[in-house]
Symmetry: C2
């Protein structure tokens, strides 16, 4: 999906909500365990319950890999079930030397190789240009590069200051020269409030993928206040707060309600 | 495998060679394509041909993921075929917020979850402490943290100087406080010759996993000159130079010969 189509979807749905399918087999309602693929059955119902309000779905690969081959089967099946009008994100945080990153790009972008063709993959920047570039060689596909993350450990290195910039600013500056606002986004944690001002100085036009609203404590209003641009430029992710809104029979309705609530908050900002 | 057992293996085999099973289905001899799982069949023969000289095997997950579910099946089968006396490395370069990194740790360390129980996983440090710690919670398992990589892009961020240290030195210093030389190693590219002196100032006792000898142009002698410690402290990886030593029928013999050659060079240093 290209930038124009993504913005169209956002405007049509009055939403920049990304639903994170971080599906943990131990946290879904027990009733699903009777299915051959409980995670996929759960994801289907969550997708059906939220697609009216979501413009993107993010699948964090860790939750699938943790179940080995069976988990990859759930991943591929869930990818296939994603609505065509939604932007798809493989939240894999990959990155390796050039020829190896090409293999990761194949894994998530080339259906002939893996059965999947996500619109985007999250990428870790530590290894630099050749670890990222292979993800930029696909039409209408995106690399979403970790910049300023939402977790405790983000303080360890991302704020180190070298010359005039902190590490996350170096990453953004470099990545802006590797790709464009048409094929590159940045991960910026919602727990970072005013840091969005600094991010927007470095990347005024790029889309930002924003995790950390909900379970991690970030404020949607703060993110919008400092992060929104004319072209919207935000995809705000919520995982646990939506998919585990209830762990009872009403989980789908609860997910629906929670997604609706977030969408309405977003609509007010658009 | 713990540090004592690893050092015993190294001394017994007079080798600190790690063979990298970066198996690309397009580069293996055509004859394998007749098998149901060509990559696994190829890996078996490479393992059989090199296990006399190797103390470790490293499986780069990208080469398996690029084939989707079928690739993960090859990964699990290959893991199961690794010799018990060899140290096993899932070269996955994972890293995410704490609860998600725990899922990656399960993927590679917990056989009940994924069918695999590698001795170690490579980990990307960008997201800091909580992205690494979950890998340190398993007895006799290791996190191998990216410090100074062998690729072109390593120059983009790893040498940025903040205060007295460059980023790779910050990473090593921090990680030395998160774990110990009994559960943490560092990735240092063989193309970095004299940088090993700087690394050893920060991590005098840690094992280093050293890619980049062979196809990437690093010198084994330079690595040994600057990197060896009393407890050896090195695992030097060779992937393409061994597994693709020949692409003809004699590929296994060629891999055997190449591994033997490297092992002899290593024996001279021990």
């Amino acid at each position: 999906m290209n930038r124009t189509a993504l913005i169209q979807q956002i405007k049509a749905k009055k939403s920049f909500l990304c639903v994170g399918l971080d599906t943990d087999i131990q946290l879904i309602p027990q009733a699903f365990l009777k299915y051959e693929d409980p995670v996929f059955e759960f994801n289907k119902q969550i997708i059906d319950a939220t697609r009216e309000f979501a413009v993107a779905y993010k699948l964090n690969t860790a939750f699938y890999e943790s179940r080995g081959v069976a988990g990859w089967q759930s991943l591929v099946k869930t990818f296939s079930y994603l609505p065509a009008d939604c932007f798809s994100i493989a939240d894999a945080k990959r990155g390796d030397i050039g020829n190896t990153s090409s293999m990761y790009a194949k894994a998530f972008f080339e259906p002939a190789c893996s059965g999947m063709s996500f619109d985007s993959v999250t990428v870790a920047p530590y290894m630099g240009i050749d670890s990222v570039k292979p993800f930029l060689n696909f039409d209408n596909k995106w690399a979403i590069i970790l910049a300023l993350t939402s977790n405790e450990g983000s303080r360890d290195f991302q704020f180190l200051k070298a010359d005039e910039n902190r590490l996350f600013e170096h990453v953004i500056e470099a990545a802006c020269s590797w790709g464009t606002a048409e094929n590159t986004m940045f991960v910026v944690g919602a727990t970072r409030g005013e840091s969005f001002l600094d991010i927007r100085k470095k990347a005024p036009h790029h889309f930002l993928l924003v995790p950390g609203v909900g379970a991690q404590g970030g404020s949607l209003d703060e993110v919008c206040k400092y992060g929104l641009i004319d072209d919207v430029g935000l995809l705000v992710n919520s995982s646990r707060a939506i998919i585990y809104a209830s762990n009872k029979e009403d989980f789908a309705q609860a997910a629906h309600n929670e997604a609706c609530k977030v969408q309405q908050q977003m609509a007010a900002w658009l």
